[in-house]
């Protein structure tokens, strides 16, 4: 008898509780006040963890009826907006309003960058990788080429003149041939490296490339003139004709090559300034001393 009374009381209480369920309603809008349709509204009971959901209509309005009294966490979310949560306490039978203002979500799209600018391009990356790889070889070979190039020019001082020996001329010729071969390989890696479209060249690379207009013809002409001079000397003749320009062309080629190298390596900082001063001094010295240099010594 007593159990029946208790059960009846519980059922009555539950019925009353359902009859006194609270309703949550409101509007989801942007910060500017514009309605956000199709926003998701989720009320989660802080006591039981049970959730009820609703979706905002065309005017941004939503209604969540039949909520038991208690505390809730209400989360508002919509595509393109930052979700927002608020806490609310509902009393039995109450119709409580809860509005939410959502702010646009922070994304690259919201910053206004076009998709073409934000999407990666694996092909372009592969092209850049290939270009850098080839230019890296170009750079290292160019540096290595400098060694026989200088040695060739220096040995030229001993290979020319009437008192020179065949051995000196042969050494000079071997060094020159080595230089030419390394130079050709260096040039190949620069020429064959993929070009990047739409890039306007600026900076020291322009001087580096401009110098090629001097050292490329110089590197072609020098061995030809050298071969002519070698042939003339081997016949016991005095070097004559355009072959006499072999030494001058070689020095100009070396100077242009050195400038091209320095242009892309040292152009700021203490070492760069020191190198620039040294280069300037060397060119100045060369310019002053060349007219007085012995004719024979300058030929080879």
């Amino acid at each position: 008898m007593r159990m029946a009374q208790i059960a009846g009381a519980v059922m009555l209480a539950a019925g009353l509780a359902w009859g006194q369920a609270a309703t949550l309603h409101g509007k989801v809008a942007e910060s500017s006040g514009a309605a956000i349709p199709n926003a998701q509204v989720e009320a989660t009971s802080m006591a039981t963890g049970m959730a009820r959901r609703a979706q905002s209509d065309a005017t941004g309005g939503y209604t969540l009826p039949g909520l038991a009294a208690g505390s809730y966490t209400v989360t508002f979310s919509a595509a393109g907006f930052t979700s927002r949560s608020r806490q609310v306490r509902l009393t039995a039978g109450a119709e409580q309003a809860l509005n939410a203002a959502l702010t646009p979500a922070l994304s690259l799209g919201s910053l206004g960058f076009p998709a073409s600018e934000t999407q990666g391009n694996a092909q372009e990356q592969a092209l850049l990788n290939r270009r850098s790889h080839m230019l890296h070889i170009h750079q290292n070979l160019g540096l290595i080429t400098m060694i026989p190039l200088v040695a060739t020019v220096v040995s030229g001082g001993f290979a020319g003149g009437r008192a020179s020996h065949t051995g000196s001329r042969n050494l000079h010729a071997i060094l020159g041939t080595t230089t030419a071969a390394l130079y050709a390989a260096t040039a190949y890696y620069a020429i064959a490296a993929p070009k990047i479209k739409g890039v306007k060249k600026k900076g020291p690379i322009k001087l580096h490339e401009a110098m090629a207009w001097i050292h490329v013809p110089g590197m072609i002409l020098t061995p030809i003139l050298g071969a002519m001079a070698y042939s003339q000397r081997s016949k016991g003749e005095r070097v004559h004709g355009i072959a006499r320009l072999h030494g001058q062309v070689a020095v100009i080629t070396l100077a242009a090559y050195t400038i091209a190298l320095l242009a892309v390596t040292v152009h700021s900082g203490p070492v760069g300034h020191a190198a620039a001063h040294s280069l300037h001094a060397a060119l100045h010295l060369f310019g002053r001393r060349r007219p007085n240099a012995p004719v024979e010594g300058a030929q080879l």
Binding site: L111, Q125, T265
Partner: protein
């Protein structure tokens, strides 16, 4: 007199800043610094865009700039930078910052940064920035202590000598209330 006037302007400007719900990046200068045994180089970008949203006491900022927008004055170096940072594959550098609204006022701000760059996500904790007010705008300046290893970037070499691992990025941004 001038100093007191400045303080007064800052005090008046601070509440206005704290109440703003959104922020818009008006102008910016981002500069990376590279040191090689033979020279120093800098790359500058003015192409960053950014937004900030403040709600419930927290401000979220998003700043992004195309990697290729950094110009050093040397085409060759810029293309090489683009290659080593995988800039064609990951064309944007994106920075996210979350700051308590209460700390958004003139003075020193220590912010936690989430940086997406070169295909890596790197967290920098407590990076100090100086904030000053210019009318209603907010000017933020500081240096992000980035390194090549943070982003798994192979150090570029010149004459067989690699550049230094540290590539600090100095930042100067002007934010206006949205």
């Amino acid at each position: 007199m001038k100093k007191w006037l400045g303080v007064a302007v800052l005090l008046l400007a601070a509440p206005a800043m704290a109440q703003a719900r959104t922020w818009q990046l008006q102008s910016s200068t981002l500069t990376y610094h590279v040191v090689h045994p033979l020279h120093h180089a800098e790359g500058v970008s003015h192409a960053a865009r950014g937004k900030g949203v403040c709600q419930a006491g927290t401000c979220n900022f998003l700043v992004a700039a195309p990697v290729k927008s950094f110009q050093s004055g040397d085409t060759n170096r810029d293309l090489h930078m683009l290659q080593v940072t995988r800039g064609a594959q990951y064309p944007m550098v994106v920075v996210r910052v979350t700051v308590p609204l209460a700390e958004l006022h003139p003075g020193t701000l220590k912010a936690d940064l989430e940086v997406q760059f070169a295909g890596q996500d790197v967290h920098y904790a407590q990076v100090p920035f100086q904030i000053s007010a210019q009318g209603k705008d907010l000017v933020l300046s500081g240096t992000v202590p980035a390194t090549l290893t943070d982003f798994k970037i192979t150090p570029p070499e010149l004459l067989m000598m690699p550049i230094r691992n540290q590539i600090p990025v100095t930042v100067r941004m002007t934010w206006a209330p949205g």
